[in-house]
Symmetry: D2
Subunit: 406 residues, 4 copies
Amino acid sequence: MTDRAYALFEEQQRARGIDVELVKQRLKSFTIETPSWGYGDSGTRFKTFQKVGVPRNPFEKLEDAAEVHRLTGVCPSVAIHIPWDKVDDYEQLKRHAEQLGLRIGAVNPNLFQEDEYMLGSVCNADPAIRRKAVDHLLECVTIARQTGSRELSLWIADGTNYPGQADFRKRKGWLLESLAEVYRAMPAEMRMLIEYKFFEPAFYHTDLADWGMAFNLAQKLGPQAQVLVDTGHHPPGTNVEHLVAYLIDEQKLGGFHFNSRKYADDDLIVGAINPYELFLIFFQIISASADQNPQVRTTVEKIAYMIDQSHNIEPKIPAMIRSVLNIQTQYAKALLINLEEVRAAQDAQDVLAAEDAVRKAFEMDVGPLLTVIREEMGLPHDPMKAFAESAYASKILARGKGGASW
Amino acid sequence: MTDRAYALFEEQQRARGIDVELVKQRLKSFTIETPSWGYGDSGTRFKTFQKVGVPRNPFEKLEDAAEVHRLTGVCPSVAIHIPWDKVDDYEQLKRHAEQLGLRIGAVNPNLFQEDEYMLGSVCNADPAIRRKAVDHLLECVTIARQTGSRELSLWIADGTNYPGQADFRKRKGWLLESLAEVYRAMPAEMRMLIEYKFFEPAFYHTDLADWGMAFNLAQKLGPQAQVLVDTGHHPPGTNVEHLVAYLIDEQKLGGFHFNSRKYADDDLIVGAINPYELFLIFFQIISASADQNPQVRTTVEKIAYMIDQSHNIEPKIPAMIRSVLNIQTQYAKALLINLEEVRAAQDAQDVLAAEDAVRKAFEMDVGPLLTVIREEMGLPHDPMKAFAESAYASKILARGKGGASW
Amino acid sequence: MTDRAYALFEEQQRARGIDVELVKQRLKSFTIETPSWGYGDSGTRFKTFQKVGVPRNPFEKLEDAAEVHRLTGVCPSVAIHIPWDKVDDYEQLKRHAEQLGLRIGAVNPNLFQEDEYMLGSVCNADPAIRRKAVDHLLECVTIARQTGSRELSLWIADGTNYPGQADFRKRKGWLLESLAEVYRAMPAEMRMLIEYKFFEPAFYHTDLADWGMAFNLAQKLGPQAQVLVDTGHHPPGTNVEHLVAYLIDEQKLGGFHFNSRKYADDDLIVGAINPYELFLIFFQIISASADQNPQVRTTVEKIAYMIDQSHNIEPKIPAMIRSVLNIQTQYAKALLINLEEVRAAQDAQDVLAAEDAVRKAFEMDVGPLLTVIREEMGLPHDPMKAFAESAYASKILARGKGGASW
Amino acid sequence: MTDRAYALFEEQQRARGIDVELVKQRLKSFTIETPSWGYGDSGTRFKTFQKVGVPRNPFEKLEDAAEVHRLTGVCPSVAIHIPWDKVDDYEQLKRHAEQLGLRIGAVNPNLFQEDEYMLGSVCNADPAIRRKAVDHLLECVTIARQTGSRELSLWIADGTNYPGQADFRKRKGWLLESLAEVYRAMPAEMRMLIEYKFFEPAFYHTDLADWGMAFNLAQKLGPQAQVLVDTGHHPPGTNVEHLVAYLIDEQKLGGFHFNSRKYADDDLIVGAINPYELFLIFFQIISASADQNPQVRTTVEKIAYMIDQSHNIEPKIPAMIRSVLNIQTQYAKALLINLEEVRAAQDAQDVLAAEDAVRKAFEMDVGPLLTVIREEMGLPHDPMKAFAESAYASKILARGKGGASW
């Protein structure tokens, strides 16, 4: 049935003018970075539920990530978080990754868990605390060099809880000053990806509250600084795909932290709450990948697709596999959009035809396509099932409860 | 200057037709319940910062609450949370409270911190877990009897994170069934206050998501069940004062959990983000307190005014005093609304005059009034300053860090 | 290719345990009501753009609706709006509908366009205005009798723009009093469907602001009163499918006003912004249609599926056809959910399996299924294309601009 | 009583270290621009209620504005809107304004009411429509020269309603290209104030959706382009005062469109829904007005404070006076913040002290201060009452209904 389904799929797509071989090629080369912390326990402020089998150290996290890569074939890199993944010897961590068929992806500093950061890190009114924060960022640049990472992924959690608590403009200055020092320390091939967030953990103001602030900061720092879009970090209603297109056009989109949200920064499995939004994000990316401007095309090529979620109630490895499959599914659907058809309808200002040209690809079933691709890549048809039945799934139970959670 | 200020205030208010003696009387008899957990450390999912001097056990929490009552004069009761305030001998806890000039207020069960509750407590598909949850609620009824409390304050954190995860309607049935058993176990003078919350810790659906669900549940349970309005538990834009008036009219408003929010359930100091909303809530309450319907008046008289906040970055006792002062300030301002004037403008459908009749009371300065009231009650003029200079403030430092946080 | 596609579809679904014949039967008998006003010009407060070819009177609106029914086969009834569809002889309107193969659906009174309603209609402080409003509602009951309609569909736009402007609780009383009179005038087979709306045209408070208020009102009125869910009338983030399940469980869901929204009450084409939400709504309905409780099943059977949109920039008839197709598509997908599989995963509390059992049906392609159904019903495969190429599409151009817009 | 009240006020403020003379001086020189369209009828998409006495042409609108200025003393300029205020002879309009003691303020082009603009104006895919739009903008530059206006105030309503409808990035390019041409046509002393809006009238994407897009555009255009903050144009929860501070710091805040909102772009009377937000905006402005950086100070000096509201149910002139008074009230309160005290608490990172230093000014009564200022300026104590009793109020009734509404 699978073969017939794929044959029919191919025939249908060709009839629509879709270059199926190109679609397959793009799907095979599309990679997603998983985060080390996504394999550990996480929770809400009310409770972190502990699971049996979660990794107890950075090395085990990499092993879990390798399992996800083994089953999905598209997750060759792993983001690390310092100090959660602090080790004595980063060369050893790098080698461990390599032996598992992985490489170290973005290095994520932590500027929110030290006691000193209660009222801010790089935006703190106390210069000694800012110094500490900058030193930590510089340490992460070093770790990135040591692990072969090429991205410093910055989430600045700084903000205030009350009107009057702090001086917005002074903090803005300190933020720029701090990151400028870090920027200067980065080697030429390293990128600084700057994240923004509407709120939380601060509840009155957040120093980097939206894409505009992250963008402006990246503009001031220079070409190696770009913006990181976390799909859950916006006010309700925000048209995220518009921001994506905007940032690509400015050559300032550096990457994504994928996850789903219905309310705030819910950090659920990507694609689980509003899959159409994810599809529309990919539509913008794919459109721009064929842009006349080579700098726009280069920007698109360098986008880092990273998952950043909190698996509060889910088993960790299956949650990660599901996330990868959801991203792949929507990316595949978006690749079936006939861009010529879209363009023609847009040029004719035919609203319903243009909308239809995009939406109908979303309604197609890419199951047969993904199955064949997995087959060709030597992967299990159903990575979720394959994991459930794997020896690895049972083996990790021996780790017991109480892993290296954050 | 204080005396002259008050004399002028009195003169001005009398000229406006305000019965200043009645206002003073109502302010003196208006009491606010503080929560035991508000004296301990709390945090976000990212970090709980530990403060020096927070209470190490339920007895010390009561001592801190007594200090707040000593300085403000309007906080004679303390809400407790089980198991955070679990003690071997609840009679002893009650006596401790009494010796401090306090009484035990609402008893708050905890249905979210046991491992079994990961996928729900009273709404869990597993009957054994529902049994455990109901047993805990029944235990809290017993504790309420033992401590002289007359309110069981229920926050059901149950919900799901993903579409399809659970059956909404079955869970609805289990919820009713569970609470009905608890309701039947309550003595006649006890009230069950049912809280609702838009989201968090569940991020797809919450079993008691809004006032309508809590209200309908309270209707089914009977007259001893009422709704508890937590001011931070609504979608953005919600007209909370409208819900308050609505519930009073249905004789189903049982009480409040006061706090401030700008984004989600931020749990900041009440009155710090949008003080006008707090004032408008009191406007509805005060209006209804003069209703022709005696049942409406009784409903208003029994409203439990409780604080429920997370003091993540603030010193705990000052944060509590500030909260009490903010509530008092807005209540005092609302008492200065000339209800006759409002009614006349409303009857004449004069939009701007009616709006003015309400808003102008908000713009008045109730400082002189509150100062005189504190004087007459034998309290310090400035409770914040009085605490800062108190022996108590220094004494508790000896407790060190790492109190009985939640 | 179509035949092979359908054959494969059938084979795949049977292998999954889906009763394809039952699915087809349900799809064929699933009907959607279109609104007369959806064929006319509408706009925002900034501008109503006028289209060539929109109907100039109620009779032409019915003709357009008949065209939509002719092409889709599932739109046999048309909602009317009084006074927009006011005619001298309602028997004639009814006959006109019948001759077109249609029947008159819900009658929608208008309580927001008369000058007197500026500050409210049935909630107005002026008894003469309330009288006028009730009389209009009674007139609509009569019109419903005359046209054979069995639903009175009520949207009460009443509310206030400023704090203090009016007395919430008095208005609540007037609302009940007014609708009770109308309820008593309804024949036994008529239903009153009560709509609610978060805000607009009132911007401070809305008298029927949420499902809870509509539900409580319907409870007080009696069994012929039910709640109408307009999918665009909720605060951001609201879990609409949860409300749907809740109201079904209470046997108080009367029907839907379908449309899409991203921000406020945007009134875009249903299924265009977040198709997964529409699918999840149908998932709840389909689940409940197999409930053990016969009253729940009856409630589901009687749900009125109505479209209510503003086609500000779209050609009207194509916009309506697209809406019908979008609803059908998501309903068809939801029918492919294997409810046994969902239930088993829910009972086992297997979060990811339960989620997968629902989501995977959404990812399927129902194109082949819908094509075959249309074929069996003697309908064009592609109703959008069929309309574009129809004589009707050209014929209506003769109407010119400036139709009977609202 | 007024004299005593003011004497006490002055004494109290001096004791707090406030320079009362400076406060008075700043209040007297603080001016607010009213919009010509705010004197006419406006409405929602559901209905525009017509009032008796609204102006029938641009000259009468200026007369109403002059009445507001006569009574409040702080509204010497009037924003005009083209084509709503189109006249044959703009010199004559200017002279009319001057004779009334007014001057023409910002010129507001209209890019949303022509039929051609249905799918966009300066972002339209059709170059002829973009040309028309740019020509209209150039016409407005000419009108601004002729009327002595120094601000071109741009609200670009362009956007789309459906995914796929148009190409975000192409439209972004056309927007820049169009405004660049207009920018080049402006005389050196003219400013372009660029507004942004979250949504409406477009409901899927808006080309200038947030401050970041307006800011980036202004950066590209040059120093004469700045951002205009409409207080109602943000997603729920947005910290507007933070954006204000941010834009001032970048020397890109050009002005405000003041109004109130609870839900979307409600356009209610400024200060009526959340007065604390308005106060906090002024706190940021006042703080920056004492900045060390002269360019920051210059930016603050040039801020244009403009009202932009829809008085759907209110009498127009009273609504405008109330708006002016509300702004004045919050500005006056913000002037009572002791910035030294704030700074000291901020430097000490004393959260509660810093919050208190700001909030307590908000709780003060500035009534006595404003009364005295009005007295000194030869104005009525109570402008609302003065208008109600004025001959002007009766005189305009002769205009009848059906004025020059938008």
